[in-house]
Amino acid sequence: MKAVINLLFGLTFLVSLFCTKAFAHSASTSSVFIDTHKPQIELEIYLPLDQLRLADESLFPSQSDDLKQVNFSALQDYMQTHVSITTQNSQPLTAQKVDDFAIHEFDNVLFMVMKMQFIKPDNFDTSGFSLHYNAILHRVVTHKIYVSYRNDMHEVLKASQDIATIGLIRYQRETLFIEPEKITAWSQFKLMFVNGMSHIAAGIDHLLFLLCLILPAPLVSANKRWQSVAPVRQCVMSVAKIVTFFTLGHSLTLALTTLGYISFPVKPIEILVAASILVSALNAIRPIFSQSAMWIAFIFGLIHGQAFAIEMSHMGFDTQAIIVALVAFNLGIETVQLLIVICVVPVLAMLARTYFYSAIRITLSVLAMAAASYWIIERSM
């Protein structure tokens, strides 16, 4: 999903270039998006194919007018020749790889899209570097190249505003100094905290799971049925245990996965999350695991932590930043969970003392089961 958002922003940005900054409708511009927050410097480059052919016909088969026939391996060499980076201490970097080639048509213009990766040397000065770029421009002197940041961290920070172009490469301006924006630990912490909050608040599946877990909390099981009402103290204790163990579980897998120690495929995790809702909804109807609820919460927490990790993995942090991000993201999730517990548990505790609580509990559980079943099917497809 994040990829889709990225793509949309990218396209939006591109369109706005054509509409507001292009020097003519028929002479398209190039775009370079720079991501500096990964272990490597990554450039995502959009080249208008018609201008590329104007710049170097040898990249295209001579017998064809089809721009899509561009020779990818020749293009790799071409980009290596025309794009390079120099570090602050004058160390030249050449692209380690040029790949992810794709052709996109946009506003009737065909674009070659590719990624170039430059390995940061050990002594890399993060305060900036020089980008030397003259692809197309070496020949088409009127060509313009808009350079901007493409960084998930940056995008999350900036997405509500216009994505700022950091520079324009053009005739006689083939070198651009790139100064990555400083992201402080505190701004990152705030951002990830809010992100964690909005993630759980927007994640209906996680909320539903939480609700199913605490629905029977005010009750005591007997003879495999939910029966008498538990004393308030016991109710609070059991909710606290459930939430704590759920948190421990998902913190563990979130941390281990994000730091790269373990990894699970996305799809089964999504299905398991849905299954966990189904099971906990069943439990809310009839006690399945009343005695060991906290351990079940822990195990399900492990699963949900995987799902959170999937979410975080799309954000692309370097290892230093990730610890801060991890803690903040988790605290954000926790805060919303606690808020929900504080709001919902007293209500449940009161409702549990009424004669219609079992109707409410069963109705909600059945709805949750229906939703969970739907997700299981949808996510299995």
Partner: protein, 407 residues
């Protein structure tokens, strides 16, 4: 509270759609725009009998096109004064007198705002918004006064070019180019107070048009100036015919046609392709551009190496640009372009398909005059609406005196 992911997505999609809508105007393949000509009735229905000057057809969208042909012979009336600049200042003040407070706020801008002064473009106004009042939004009286300002600021030749460029937009609209193209979507602005001796600037522009004329103590600096036109050949609108840049293009071609084969080869910019003009819009930079070719990058053939007859053709080409303005206003600047000392440092150069020669009907053909100060360039691009013909983008700049060197 941070927006949730779904909201982000929707925003991104909305932004994308909004941008697409804006871009649709420049989309050469849009065939569904036939209905726009009915909403712009004055663009299609004026059959020469319309004499109301600026019937906006009751258009509520405030950007009706102008009946361009009605303005081809307007006279300055009481503002026909001794000098061109007196006439212009008179016409400017007459316009000011017709406007209400809101319109005046749009028209009169701060001379010291260098960034605003450098905002202009070749693109349709839907893509890059311009300074000033929109001609199509004015009432009849104000519109006529605004057209008189244009007439007073330009020579007769220049004024006809201006009419031709704005008429070309109506023509593109008629051809299904969409509502982005309209003679009404041109803008006039004054930076500072129009005055015969003070410092101020007039800006008049829209799609394919940017007059930036700075007046310093009575002297005019008509640069940077961009004019483009699609089509580049003669076209008819409301029984009047226009060909705003035909003379300019022809004069440059005549200049190159006079060169021998070896001279033409020397003038060829080998290894360089031009998809557009090189020194295009300043995009609100607030400064003079600094990336003209310098040193060895100044290429072409020196005008001083040419015969007198050939040099006369260079002068004739340059005059096509400088003669668009009243002579006595701009001669302090423009006389310096055609002197023998200037020609000792003036190159003419061309680019494009070398085997095709200097052929303006071939996309990518590019012609340039590069002097110590003067900079004229013409690029031939494929048409946007008339996609099987090329069209012109031109720039006229002065490397030192753009904006009167007074940003």
């Amino acid at each position: 509270m941070k927006l949730s992911k779904k909201v982000w997505q929707s925003l991104a999609v909305l932004a994308l759609l909004a941008n697409l809508a804006a871009c649709g105007d420049s989309d050469s393949s849009s065939s569904s725009d036939t209905d726009t000509s009915t909403s712009d009735s004055s663009g299609t229905d004026n059959s020469g009998t319309d004499n109301s000057g600026s019937d906006n057809s009751g258009s509520s969208s405030s950007s009706g096109s102008i009946s361009v042909s009605d303005f081809s012979d307007i006279s300055l009336g009481d503002c026909e004064l001794d000098t061109s600049l007196e006439s212009l200042v008179c016409a400017a003040n007459a316009l000011i007198d017709t406007l209400d407070e809101d319109e005046l706020a749009d028209l009169q801008l701060d001379y010291s705002d260098s960034e605003a002064r450098t905002v202009w473009s070749n693109l349709p106004t839907g893509n890059v918004s311009r300074n000033g009042i929109e001609l199509g939004a004015l009432d009849d009286e104000s519109l006529e006064a605004a057209m008189m300002v244009a007439k007073a600021a330009l020579s007769d030749d220049g004024y006809q070019d201006f009419l031709g460029v704005i008429a070309a937009d109506d023509y593109l609209n008629e051809l299904g180019g969409g509502s982005a193209y309209s003679s009404g979507k041109y803008y006039l602005a004054f930076f500072g107070d129009p005055d015969v001796s003070g410092d101020w600037m007039l800006q008049l522009g829209g799609h394919h048009l940017a007059y930036n004329i700075t007046y310093l103590n009575g002297d005019g600096y008509p640069v940077p100036n961009h004019i483009g036109t699609e089509p580049k050949v003669s076209f008819e609108l409301d029984s009047a015919s226009y060909a705003p840049l035909a003379d300019e293009g022809d004069a440059l071609v005549a200049m190159f046609d006079s060169l021998s084969e070896s001279e033409l080869e020397e003038a060829y910019l080998s290894g360089e392709s031009y998809s557009d003009v090189l020194m295009g819009p300043d995009n609100g930079s607030g400064t003079l551009p600094t990336d003209y070719p310098t040193g060895d990058n100044r290429k072409g053939i020196l005008v001083s190496s040419l015969t007198q007859d050939q040099q006369a053709l260079v002068t004739a080409a340059i005059e096509q640009w400088i003669n668009d303005y009243p002579e006595e206003v701009v001669e302090n600047l423009t006389l310096s372009y055609v002197t023998s000392s200037a020609y000792a440092d003036t190159y003419i150069a061309w680019a494009g398909t070398e085997s095709a020669g200097v052929d303006v009907d071939v996309a990518g053909t590019y012609m340039r005059i590069d002097g110590p100060n003067l900079w004229i360039e013409v690029a031939c691009q494929n048409g946007v609406i008339i996609s099987d013909e090329t069209h012109y983008h031109t720039m006229f700049r002065d490397k030192s005196w753009d904006y009167g060197n007074n940003l």
